[in-house]
Subunit: 213 residues, 4 copies
Amino acid sequence: MLKPLTKEQTDSILRAAAGAFANKGYAHTSVRDIAKSAGVSVGVIYKYYKDKGDLFNSCVIKSLDTLDQVFEAVQSKGRFIMEMAEELITSTQSFARTDPEYFRLYHQITVSGSSLMTPEIAELIEGRTAKLYTGLMQNASETGEIRQDMDPAMIAFLFDNLLMMLHFSYTCGYYENRFKIFCGEDIGSRDEFVKEQLLKFIGGALNGLHTGL
Amino acid sequence: MLKPLTKEQTDSILRAAAGAFANKGYAHTSVRDIAKSAGVSVGVIYKYYKDKGDLFNSCVIKSLDTLDQVFEAVQSKGRFIMEMAEELITSTQSFARTDPEYFRLYHQITVSGSSLMTPEIAELIEGRTAKLYTGLMQNASETGEIRQDMDPAMIAFLFDNLLMMLHFSYTCGYYENRFKIFCGEDIGSRDEFVKEQLLKFIGGALNGLHTGL
Amino acid sequence: MLKPLTKEQTDSILRAAAGAFANKGYAHTSVRDIAKSAGVSVGVIYKYYKDKGDLFNSCVIKSLDTLDQVFEAVQSKGRFIMEMAEELITSTQSFARTDPEYFRLYHQITVSGSSLMTPEIAELIEGRTAKLYTGLMQNASETGEIRQDMDPAMIAFLFDNLLMMLHFSYTCGYYENRFKIFCGEDIGSRDEFVKEQLLKFIGGALNGLHTGL
Amino acid sequence: MLKPLTKEQTDSILRAAAGAFANKGYAHTSVRDIAKSAGVSVGVIYKYYKDKGDLFNSCVIKSLDTLDQVFEAVQSKGRFIMEMAEELITSTQSFARTDPEYFRLYHQITVSGSSLMTPEIAELIEGRTAKLYTGLMQNASETGEIRQDMDPAMIAFLFDNLLMMLHFSYTCGYYENRFKIFCGEDIGSRDEFVKEQLLKFIGGALNGLHTGL
DNA sequence: GATGAATGAGGTTTCATTCAT
DNA sequence: CATGAATGAAACCTCATTCAT
């Protein structure tokens, strides 16, 4: 079959690769297996991607692009932090159900030895989120929406930490298990509960009205 | 040279393997290199460990044993949560300087494809922490030390999430970069600041005296 | 774009292929690159030539046709051997400047593994030269122009050996370097000197008026 | 069979490789085939040689070492050029029968694309011969043993050209065929004749007592 | 029991050749 | 008929594992 790859097929390469990388890790995934599961020949992969690393990177970039859409939907101005937090959590929960690979793939880049694990890539990926969140916290701090006794950057960092762990807890094997161990086998089906609890936790952290301690 | 293996040598294997796995990742670490850097032959490694995966597992188990010591030092009864939190943070910061490999190795088991990434192992590793923290939060909730409108298990989970991210942010490449991007290049030398900020954040989250939401 | 192949294009294939084979060797030359540099599709190459080997053979044949023209210009009857030798050397020097690929390609067929390296091809290529030179030497021997104590065929062979080495020394990488090592870095710009020296050498060899030995 | 390679086996690798490279060329020789024909595993070849190129280089170096022995046997001082020439021819003829691979391998390095085809390697290989022969010609010229109207370096170069072609004509496929075409099918069994003829040719060339030109 | 060289399956990548358009 | 993307065999090379010493 020497007809040009259909859009479906080229998509299928990225989907197969993303799935394999996400689930088995970069090193345990072979290009041959990706080709087979995408229903194409090995050679064609090297027409579209320089090498295995390039294919991996493309998967990650694509997953990040998609993840970005989640956040962009939330960035509308003039909203309260906690409203945005709620939406972020809702999005995460729903997205984790429909496209878990994207979060899993994002997790892969945190792994040592990944070709993407460079400061430059980290800057590229985290830089925007960091600026965005820090800016939001800055504003919210100035308007008195949140506590003023903390560094906005640190608040942003810790806030993002909680969201990141939520991503992983819904999609990445080990974290999923851990989630259940902490919160019960059925935690995966109690989205409303999780959201409500996390919002309370974040609310307290951001508000900071606490005695002494 | 047919000398029997000394205790030092068996330790040395585990130490060499742990270091290599932690820093280069499972796939990029070769049994041969471990043997060389441990000063033993490849053969003895296969005498003590079924295969490369088994050796990796043993490293992780050992690293967890060591990490446990950090927590045990904190588990003394009758202390305030926030006191313990402070000590956990301090320990993490100091331990991340002296033995980063242990945290890095711990991070490795969260990676898909790791042979350790099974529910059983997760239970083994996280079970104790989950019970311990949940129990502590339960007590603290009952004594009014912390808020009573949240599920102790969820509090424990989110509390541990923050600590886990702190571990990684101090020791694991990508997270280290991300830490700097959010909080500045010099964040690695501002331990007191980080501790103080994190305690404020946790304090607010646990106390939860806030208005709205 | 389904345009029929013009004469220019077929020429262009052969020229591109010859250049690539000559300079990079058979194995390092890809059909795809030839097609690209000839401005045609891969498919048409396989329409005109059975396979890569066939294309190579055609290039060689063509280069030999061209080289033959050099010799034909010299074959006019009734001339002295040494006059012809001088012209052959001059032609070689000038041709090596303008079309080095032809000599390089000729060199390629001497390489083991070339599909052209068969007795039949050798006969085709060398047969004519051998007959021509041997005949010339035979005549020159009979007229007393050259020594009579040697086999004309051997003289022809050794004479051609010297010319062949001259070809290679002017055009083929390794031989070019060797030429410089023996005769100095600037030997490539001393054509008159080389010609004069080679003529003296050949002159002595053909004349053979020497004492004893 | 995991016992260390015997001397015979390691020798066999080099012999198998040399044979294959010499006869099929670098590009057409696969490491797997070499391993098979040497009766060892693929892996072991990469223990002894960094990569395929390194193996090739080692074969060439070894062949040059061996070829050098032929020349060293002739370098004794105070001998007449023509005596040495005779011995060089005799050696070449006998060596071409016993170890044709060495000459064939030498021929391979003249091929474009060979990793050994660099100016440095050429200098290494040809430099010594060039110096040696030029020196000999210089002396012979000063003592009046050979003509004084030619550049010693050019004489050395042309002299070596004739010997090189003799090597190839006895061992390298295409040149063997060409030899037969020029001098008859049975030329391979007329060593005495060839030697005598070549000596006459060289004698005349070196002596140069001729009229015209 | 310890050794470490040898094994060989399996990984990534290239490219001559085919054939649907 | 020309096109050139797709094919997939086969190349190089690595390294987990074995086993003769």
